[in-house]
Every structure is written in C-alpha cells, then in structure tokens.
C-alpha cells in the first residue's frame, strides 16, 4: 500500500521546500566569515529542526493514541507542565546551592520528573471512566490552565534576578533558542524518533481503536505507556529549547494528514516533520531576509494554528 499520486507529489514538494528553506536559511545575506555563520546559524537551524521533529512526531502519535485530530499534547498542557517542573526544579536547585550540576544532568532529572507526572495523568485519564473527546478537551484545557498558573506562582517566589531569567520562557521564541541543551536534545530526539518510527505499523493498528488493536494482538497498555513516555520526552525537549507552543503541533499534524491523504504512519510521521521544517525554517527565512520584518514568527504560526483549531472544533460540532 503506497501513497496515491497526489500524496506523492505533495510530499515531494514539501520535501523540496524544506530543503530550500534549510539552504536559504544558511546562505542568504551572508556577510561575515563562514566559520561564524556555520556556528551561529547552524546551531539555530539545528534547534529549529529539533523543534519541528519533536512537535510533529509527538502530535501525530498523540492524536493516534487518543483517536482524534483536534487534541494535542500542547492543548492538554504537556508543555506548560514542563515549564512548571522546570520552575519548581529551579526553586529546588537554588535552595540547595547545587547549581554546579551540569545543565544536561539537571535537564535529564527534570525530564524524568515530567515523564513520571505525565504518565500518571495519562493513566488517570485513559484507564478510568473518562470517555469522550469533549470531556478530554475540557480536562486538558483546565489542566493546562492549572499548570500555567502554578508555574506563574512558582516564578513569583523567585529572586528578582532568577525571575528575569525565567520570565522569557513563558512564550516561544525562535530567536532565543536555548543552545546549551542542543546536544542533549539531539540525543533525546534521535532516540525517541527511532523508537516511534520503529512502531509505525503498531501505530497504524492503534488508530483503529483500543478494541480492534487488542484483537489484533497489540499489548495495549504497554505500547501506549511507551508511546506516552516518548511523547513526554519530546515535548520536554521542545519546550526547553524554545518555550511552549500551543497550536504549532496541531498545525503540523493536520498539514501532514492533508499532504499525504494516508492513514499510514510511515508517511504521516515524516510528512509532519517536513511540514514543520517548512513552517519554522522557511518562515524564518521569509521573515528575516525577504520581508525584513520584526514580527515574531512564533506568533504568526500560533495564530494560524489557532484559527485551524477553531475551524476543526466547528467542523467537529457540526458532525
């Protein structure tokens, strides 16, 4: 079962656009020496690529697991959950004067805490009596708000200096990527995306629903737990790098479904990543070099994603 001709054409075009964006980002308006450009732009490019991969894969897999095309990990508050864990961690690190720990190690500890909380929440949501998408969306929204407020509260307890460092992390910004976490992020993304792509056929089966998946021999709870673990790690990495992105994943996942017209994850997973690269890197090229506009890209992307969310919701209500 391959892809239909339309899907092939659109996917190839997206891949070409993604490649052009990457080349354009690295080569347009180069004014200083190449060594500096490679380091400065290269590291930002790597950061954006990682964000595209994390958000694309995490959203597509999450939507498969929850059998819907509206809900995303960000809408369920996974990204603000990371911000909360990070803020709390800063409080603890600050108090214990253990800031001499390497940042990578601190990051791993935070991700571990985040994964534990996320899995616990997921257990409550999916093995309990909560059924129906609307209840889930509502719970996600409420949860997201709760985490956001708690993170805010934690921030207010900080010293003024720590507060100012932390303050910016409430909003995504692609011009201020947390480069210190790039390498550990790269390792995490590499591991998780390998795992998810390895599970592509199981994911196809899971999209048919729990009962059919069990009937076809998928160890349901085990598989779902593993997938949720990967999703939590991916979202943590993305949030640590650029900050929370509410609608970006939704935009990418739905672009991927539309581009491929397929239910098969061997196509939708790469398509979501390519669409993300075009949006992020391509958008950055257009804004920086062609329009020379100071408009923050993150905001524009979030606006598009937000509009899409409303459209999807309205269409869902009609059905």
């Amino acid at each position: 079962m391959g892809l239909n001709p339309r899907g092939k054409l659109l996917l190839s075009l997206t891949a070409l656009l993604a490649l052009l964006s990457v080349v354009g980002f690295m080569t347009l308006n180069v004014q200083s020496d190449w060594g500096f450009i490679m380091e400065y732009r290269g590291s930002r490019l790597l950061g954006m690529l990682l964000v595209a991969i994390t958000m694309g894969l995490a959203t597509v897999v999450f939507q498969t697991v929850t059998h819907n095309r509206i809900l995303t990990p960000s809408l369920m508050g996974f990204d603000v959950l990371y911000v909360l864990v990070h803020s709390l961690a800063l409080l603890v690190w600050g108090a214990e004067q253990s800031t001499n720990w390497p940042i990578e190690l601190r990051f791993i500890v935070e991700v571990a805490a985040m994964v534990a909380i996320a899995l616990l929440l997921f257990r409550l949501l999916f093995t309990g009596s909560v059924r129906g998408l609307h209840v889930l969306i509502l719970l996600g929204m409420v949860g997201g708000l709760l985490f956001r407020e708690l993170a805010d509260l934690a921030l207010r307890i900080f010293d003024p200096s720590e507060f100012s460092i932390q303050q910016g992390s409430g909003v995504a910004n692609f011009n201020r990527i947390n480069l210190k976490l790039l390498w550990i992020g790269l390792v995490g993304v590499g591991l998780c995306s390998t795992l998810l792509f390895h599970f592509r056929r199981q994911l196809d089966v899971l999209s048919l629903g729990r009962d059919v998946a069990i009937n076809l021999g998928i160890p349901y709870i085990k598989t779902i737990t593993l997938l949720m673990l990967a999703i939590s790690v991916l979202i943590s990495i993305s949030t640590a790098l650029v900050g929370p992105l509410l609608f970006f994943g939704l935009l990418m996942a739905n672009l991927a479904y539309w581009l491929t017209g397929s239910h098969q994850h061997r196509w939708t997973l790469p398509a979501s990543v390519l669409a993300g690269i075009v949006c992020l890197v391509g958008g950055q090229v257009v804004f920086e070099h062609l329009l020379s506009s100071g408009l923050p890209l993150a905001m524009v992307i979030e606006l598009c994603g937000g509009v899409l969310f409303i459209v999807l919701l309205l269409r869902g209500v009609k059905q």
């Binding site: 056929r201 089966v205 048919l208 729990r210 009962d211 059919v212 021999g217 017209g261 239910h263």
Partner: protein
C-alpha cells in the same frame, strides 16, 4: 475449547457478572441470548481479553487469556464489538488487510493478499473494496469489519451483536455466512444475539444469561421452549414449529 471458570466482573460496587463457569466446545455456532443487562457483552469481552476480569479465569485451548501474549491469542481468537467507528479514511481493502496484522506484523505477503481477497469475496464486498468506509451504508461497513475478522483467520470468531442496525436481508445474509464459516471452514463462532429466532434457526448451542448469571444452556430444542423463554425474559411466549424450525412468538399477548 473455550473454558471459563468462576468469571466475575465488578464495576464499582455492582456485580455485572457473578461467578460464571461454562465451556464452549470447538466447532459450530454458539449463540448467547438474554435480556438487557444480563452480562452477555461483558462475558464476551472478558473471554476475548478486552475487559479485565475481577475474578476467575478464561482458557482458549488451554491458554490463559490474561497470561498468553496478545499476538499469540490474536492468531487463535478474534473479536468484533458493536461500535466500530474510526476517524480514519480507510478503504475497505485497507481495513480487511489489518486482519493480517497478527500473522505478518504489517508486512503483507502474497499469502496475506490471498486471505484478504478471500475475505472480501466471502462477504461479497468485491465491488466496494476500493471505497472508503465513510461512503458505505451501515450494513456494508459492518460487513467490512466482519471481513477484517475473517481475514484474521482464527479458529474462534466472537461477534457482539453482529445483526445490530442491519436490515432483514443483510441479517439473514450475515447469519448464513457465519453458519458457512462454521460448517465449511470449521470455525467456532460465538455470537451475542438479541433476536432469539435467529438464535433458534442458526445455532448448534445456546447460552442463556440473566442478571449476570448463566440461566440455561443447551441445544435450540432445549432452550427455545415457551417455559424456558417465558422465564428468561419474564414475558409470555409461545414456541411454534414452522417448516421444521422452532419460532418463538412474543409480539402480542393473546387474551
């Protein structure tokens, strides 16, 4: 053989299934009947490991369903529940191909394609095989899901109310098909049915449940009797033999 021992299911504080023990022998068509809330669907979904049991064990040919790896069981037993709604835009053929997953883990071989073709042919879905599921009628979609279960090619086929929402013609077609699967392919078919006359005309064995317990079981001659059915459903019924088939009348009480 399917063997259940001391099967119970508790939701919060209510017991929906109370200490049910039964054996369903290999081969033939077994119907599970009974009033609403009798625990028929719960029993079926516990036998097929979709619902965890609160107490008791189920063995399929000696394999404990809670301990045997899922992919092993998926080659021996298939289950189709009532509500199969997918948000995916799948073609009939894509759906039926999923039935081969336990055998090929998603890499379809020539042998798998043969099974898929056979299942599509068996359910007379040939002309629809490249249509999307959302373009089909309810009955056709139901048949597509049954075709998926058929391509899974398991010894035991469990179906929860397969006649739900389909018209007389398709209901008869479905029961004939299940009968043929039992007779020609040697499958053991277990169905939950609401229409007791279908159960009477097509079953080898009938299991009657009430209030979470096993009420009666036996051949259609033993179960489709006015005293048994009147007791089971708590309404007056009369059973008549028409053309050698036992038909239960219950639609309007004769005064």
């Amino acid at each position: 053989m399917i063997e259940a021992r001391g099967l119970s299911k508790k939701y919060h504080d209510t017991l929906v299934l109370k200490d049910v023990s039964l054996k369903i022998s290999k081969g033939g068509l077994t119907s599970i009947i009974g009033p609403n809330g009798a625990g028929k669907s719960t029993l079926l979904s516990m036998i097929s490991r979709l619902t965890p049991m609160s107490a008791g064990t189920v063995e399929i040919d000696g394999l404990d369903v809670t301990r045997t790896p899922g992919h092993e069981l998926a080659k021996r037993l298939s289950i189709l529940r009532q509500h199969n709604e997918s948000t995916l835009r799948l073609t009939v053929r894509d759906l039926v191909a999923f039935g081969r997953f336990p055998h090929s883990r998603g890499r379809l071989t020539a042998e798998d394609q043969q099974h898929i073709d056979e299942a599509i042919h068996y359910l007379e879905l040939g002309e629809y095989q490249n249509r999307h599921l959302d373009e089909l009628s309810g009955g056709q979609r139901q048949r597509a899901y049954v075709a998926m279960v058929m391509s899974q090619n398991t010894d035991y086929v469990l179906l929860d109310e397969p006649l739900n929402n389909i018209d007389m013609r398709h209901a008869v077609g479905m029961m004939q098909l299940l009968r043929r699967a039992a007779d020609e392919k040697g499958k053991s078919v277990v169905v939950v049915l609401h229409d007791i006359n279908f159960a009477s005309c097509y079953s080898d064995h009938i299991i009657a449940m009430r209030g979470g317990q096993l009420a009666y079981q036996g051949t259609p001659e033993q179960i489709i009797r006015s005293d048994v059915l009147s007791d089971l459903y708590d309404i007056p019924t009369s059973v008549h033999e028409l053309n050698g088939q036992r038909i239960c009348m219950y639609f309007r009480e004769l005064i």
